[in-house]
């Protein structure tokens, strides 16, 4: 078994360490609105500055990795940090802590929403929210796009993915898999040319 290599919270018992993982990530999960990207600064504050579990250089690596693999960024960070500090138990504790606030709040809201769905004011409010969310997703696409789309290859891939879904109605999984393959081909092609 690989020893967790980041410096842990002192020489606590593993179970106590896992417990403090749970509460820290519960706090993060309960107080960040707007998904993974909104969570990163809070994770940094809690894990690096408050708990001192991970150094500032290491957290940058952690963030790079959790954003480059599939899955929700918040959960990925929790599992990664939990595992490195307290093994498998830590990973489970951290993930549970992150999930639980969402789970409780959404369960309550899903039930309430059904009850008030037919109120005209609620319907109009949601219609307004949909327009607002359109803007938010647009902004997210712009922000991500600015970071990722540099050069011809990313532009071609992004356009191809868009058209593949809108025009040809291909499955998103097929599009993602082909894009990964295109990345590999692009790499080999370029290397041979040089």
């Amino acid at each position: 078994m690989g020893q967790p290599s980041l410096k842990g919270p002192g020489n606590d018992q593993p179970s106590r360490r896992a417990l403090s993982m749970f509460f820290t990530f519960f706090r993060i999960g309960a107080f960040t609105i707007g998904g993974g990207y909104a969570m990163l600064p809070l994770i940094e504050r809690e894990i690096v500055h408050r708990q001192g579990w991970v150094s500032e250089e290491e957290i940058v690596d952690v963030f790079t990795i959790v954003q480059s693999v599939p899955g929700t960024i918040g959960i990925n960070s929790a599992i990664f940090i939990g595992y490195r500090l307290a093994g498998f138990r830590g990973a489970v504790a951290a993930a549970l802590g992150m999930i639980l606030p969402s789970f409780i709040i959404i369960s309550v809201l899903a039930t309430l929403l059904v009850r008030f769905r037919d109120v005209p004011e609620v319907q109009r409010a949601f219609a307004g929210v949909r327009a607002g969310v359109t803007a938010l997703i647009f902004i997210a696409a712009l922000k991500l796009g600015k970071k990722v789309i540099q050069g011809i290859f990313p532009i071609v891939v992004a356009l191809a993915a868009f058209l593949a879904l809108v025009v040809f109605n291909l499955h998103a999984i097929a599009i993602i898999a082909s894009a990964g393959l295109a990345g590999v081909l692009h790499y080999y092609f370029l290397r041979k040319e040089l």
Binding site: I33, G35, P70, A91, I106, R130, A141
Partner: protein, 198 residues
């Protein structure tokens, strides 16, 4: 039981193929929800809005919501489990092979291909939401598709929804230019919706 297994498997796939966090999950989720008929598109849009207004990762919020609506609390548990499971396996493998992963050229090449594709997919999510809010009536992604493909087909005749346009532009400017917190943006668009949306 069959429904629970279906939820688990579907969200496992969603978790496995979404690169770039919650927003990247929206197109895939929409596709699966339509295929299974779990929610109406309207409900799906409301779900995304609710997921953004409430704390926690968007992917987890959405999985919980769909699970609870289709199969109650036990459905919410299996959906959440499904979406988290791929993260668990992948992250733990990477945490153990950290340096090999960071310097692997193939991994890097795959990521360089997948990331821009994710942007393209998120752009389709923008279109989907626009269709439900800032345009009046249904344009249909298929219509735009046939139009772009130049196949003739149904003419592009759509009207703008004035209330939706105002809210879209206002929130866009407030959040992007003036750094209004997204949660306040969502609340504001809800309040404006009561007065502006027909």
């Amino acid at each position: 039981m069959a429904l629970h297994f279906d939820l688990l498997w579907t969200f496992f796939k969603i978790g496995l193929f979404s690169f770039g966090g919650g927003y990247a999950m929206i197109p895939l989720m929409k596709m699966e929800i339509e295929r299974h008929g779990w929610l109406s598109l309207q409900e799906f849009a409301d779900l995304v809005a609710v997921s953004q207004m409430t704390p926690g990762p968007i992917g987890i919020n959405a999985a919980t919501f769909i699970g609870i609506r289709t199969a109650g609390i036990s459905g919410a548990i299996v959906s959440t489990l499904g979406v988290v499971l791929p993260s668990f396996v992948i992250i733990i493998i990477i945490a153990r092979l950290l340096n090999a992963f960071r310097t692997n050229r193939i991994v890097d090449a795959v990521i360089k291909g997948v990331r821009p594709a994710t942007i393209g997919l998120i752009a389709t999510a923008v279109l989907f939401f626009a269709e439900l809010s800032i345009f009046r009536g249904h344009i249909g992604l298929e219509t735009i598709g046939t139009w772009i493909a130049g196949k003739g087909g149904p003419k592009l005749n759509f009207a703008l929804n004035p209330g939706g346009c105002i809210i879209f532009v206002l929130i866009l400017i407030l959040v992007r230019r003036f750094k209004l917190h997204p949660i306040l943006g969502v609340i504001l668009s809800g309040i404006l919706g009561i007065f502006l949306m027909g």
